[in-house]
């Protein structure tokens, strides 16, 4: 099958995106790591040493000696960073669980809908994803504010007699993350549930299972790949989320994405923010590998 011309194009098809990703995705991580070992300086770029060969190899070697793990030691000494990491993981985990609780019934309902309206339902789930993330988060500020629409509604119906404080609390962050990432949860769940053979449930029920135990014994285990994919798609970006805790969580919220942002933009401390990023990445390496394996497996099955 191989023809001489195709060998060249074959190679280009691989090499062009490969080099692009190497240069713009992989190499930057090494630079982040390098700078996390540097020291802050009032200069541009604001760190030392700035490696360059212009002063000769000997100077370069002595510059290399200036690298240290001081920034990492600093991160362990200040409880702020540790707390930020822990609370990011906790908030992301709770939000992921809530998103699963909200998303599962929707995905299930969609998968069992008449086949003719399924594509429309699917498009309706994807559609909000096309509108700006920032706008969707912003919309919730108007709803959750003390004098916002939710409180007005609850006060008018007499369910509460004092406005609830939701904005600038963890509850607001949970709502924001669940809302923003819900399509990412629903889509893999739906594709797992849609493929399922529903005669299995009928069989289970014929054999005496109650609908609830049939769900836990048949439906849920079969949808597990979708559950895992959905949870990873929500959890991993949520840990490093910046916009939602910043706009909905208020100044008291500790999340590592926000800490990194502040170190970088407010304190202009590039080395420390690089160290924060390196540790965040280490924290997420395991879930990201899981995600990639799930993707690769889905790809093999699709083939």
């Amino acid at each position: 099958m191989k023809r001489p011309l195709s060998a060249v194009t074959d190679r280009l098809v691989i090499i062009i995106p490969y080099l692009w990703l190497l240069f713009f995705f992989l190499i930057p991580f090494f630079i982040v790591f390098k700078i996390s070992l540097s020291t802050t300086a009032i200069a541009m770029p604001p760190y030392t040493p700035v490696l360059s060969l212009s002063d000769g190899v000997a100077a370069l070697m002595s510059q290399l000696g200036e690298f240290s793990f001081d920034n990492y030691i600093w991160l362990t000494q200040d409880a702020l960073y540790f707390n930020a990491y822990v609370s990011s993981v906790v908030i992301a985990a709770i939000s992921t669980f809530l998103a699963l609780l909200v998303g599962y019934p929707i995905a299930y309902g969609m998968a069992r809908a008449p086949a003719t309206i399924r594509p429309t339902l699917l498009m309706l789930v994807i559609l909000p994803f096309w509108t700006s993330f920032l706008i969707r988060v912003y919309a919730w500020i108007g709803i959750l504010k003390p004098e916002g629409l939710l409180n007005q509604f609850l006060l008018a119906t007499g369910l509460i007699d004092q406005p609830l404080v939701i904005l600038n609390t963890h509850t607001a962050i949970f709502i924001g993350i669940v809302y923003s990432y819900l399509p990412f949860m629903i889509l893999p769940l739906y594709s797992a549930l849609e493929k399922m053979d529903y005669s299995l449930i009928e069989a289970a029920q014929d054999l005496g299972c109650t609908p609830i135990s049939a769900f836990w014994k048949v439906t849920f285990p079969l949808s597990l790949p979708g559950v895992i994919a959905g949870c990873l798609l929500v959890f991993i970006p949520a840990v490093g989320e910046f916009v939602i805790p910043d706009l909905l969580g208020g100044s008291q919220t500790l999340m590592i994405g926000k800490t990194l942002w502040n170190e970088f933009f407010a304190n202009r401390d590039w080395p420390v923010s690089s160290a924060v990023a390196v540790i965040l990445l280490l924290l997420l390496v395991v879930p990201i590998m899981f995600f990639q394996q799930a993707q690769a497996r889905a790809q093999e099955q699709g083939r």
Binding site: L5, D10, V13, I14, P17, Y18, W20, L21, F25, L26, P28, F29, I31, V32, V102, P105, Y108, G109, A113, M123, L124, L127, P128, W130, T131, S132, F133, L134, I135, R136, Y138, A139, W140, I141, G142, K145, L149, L182, P183, Y198, L232, P237, V239, G240, F242, V243, L247, G257, L260, W261, F264, F265, A277, I288, F291, Q292, Q295, Q299, G302, R303
Partner: protein, 272 residues
């Protein structure tokens, strides 16, 4: 299947979609609010749209956003399609595991990490931050989304069509443009639209990688939101939502038409 489309299922869907759509609907409604207070209805008015178009800062930012979006989406679509071809067509090449890792990891990578690492790269190579760095950054994160969309179409592609074309003497490049490309074109178009949307939407990566003179609309909106919620931002958001809605509906209509055409062609082919 009708019995299984139970009351529970319908309730779940209705509540779920209400949750997904209500905030956006409220945002749109309150962009037509006469009152300056975003949450108190003071009558219908379009004055915020008028004041929006007189806000030079926002208009400049919108222009930057659109240009970056068009350029980066186009280049990301080319790179992403190549990446998808590489992933589906070549099961064995050196560094394939690393390659597929680099395609999938950006999908879930926290934006603060991507933004910071790209910025440090640009500083390291001495590239001034601005329009160019912004566009390069947007290409990088959106090409991976394009790759995934195109790849999902490629895995279901019937390769015997290509083989037939090549057996009939078509060179590989011609085969690609005449057989493969038309079939995967809908996926490429939706990949482009996804890349464009991601680009005009991005705040975090843009904040890290842009410089003076290249402020994007989300950056502008973000800095205004921090000062407080105003109907003017609601108006800006409504326009963005409107553009996206028109684009998505147009795309789905085009898709539907293509589908109808394809079915007709297939039937004609069977009859003939």
């Amino acid at each position: 299947m009708n019995s299984s489309w139970s009351r529970f299922n319908i309730t779940a869907i209705v509540l779920g979609f209400a949750f997904l759509y209500l905030p956006i609907v409220l945002l749109v409604i309150f962009s037509f609010n006469e009152s300056k207070l975003v949450t108190v209805w003071g009558g219908f008015s379009t004055k915020w749209y008028v004041s929006l178009f007189h806000n030079q800062g926002l208009m400049d930012a919108a222009w930057v956003t659109i240009r970056v979006g068009l350029i980066s989406a186009t280049l990301a679509t080319i790179l992403g399609t190549l990446a998808a071809l590489a992933l589906t067509r070549y099961t064995r090449f050196r560094g394939r595991v690393l390659f597929s890792g680099m395609v999938f990891a950006p999908l879930v990578m926290p934006e603060v990490i991507t933004g910071l690492s790209l910025l440090l790269l640009f500083v390291a190579v001495g590239l001034d931050r601005g329009f160019v760095t912004l566009t390069l950054a947007h290409i990088t994160f959106s090409m991976c989304f394009v790759a995934v969309v195109v790849q999902s179409r490629l895995v279901t592609f019937d390769r015997s069509l290509e083989e037939a074309a090549m057996d009939l003497g078509a060179p590989p490049v011609k085969t690609f443009f005449q057989i493969t490309l038309p079939v995967i074109l809908p996926a490429i178009i939706s990949g482009w639209m996804l890349a464009f949307t991601l680009s005009i939407d991005d705040l975090v990566i843009s904040s890290f990688t842009s410089g003076p003179g290249a402020t994007t609309l989300p950056m502008k909106i973000y800095s205004q939101v921090r000062l407080g919620v105003t109907p003017e931002i609601n108006a800006a958001c409504t326009i963005l939502i409107g553009i996206v809605a028109v684009g998505v509906i147009a795309a789905s209509l085009v898709n539907k038409q293509r589908e109808v055409q394809r079915l007709r062609d297939e039937q004609a082919a069977q009859r003939g």
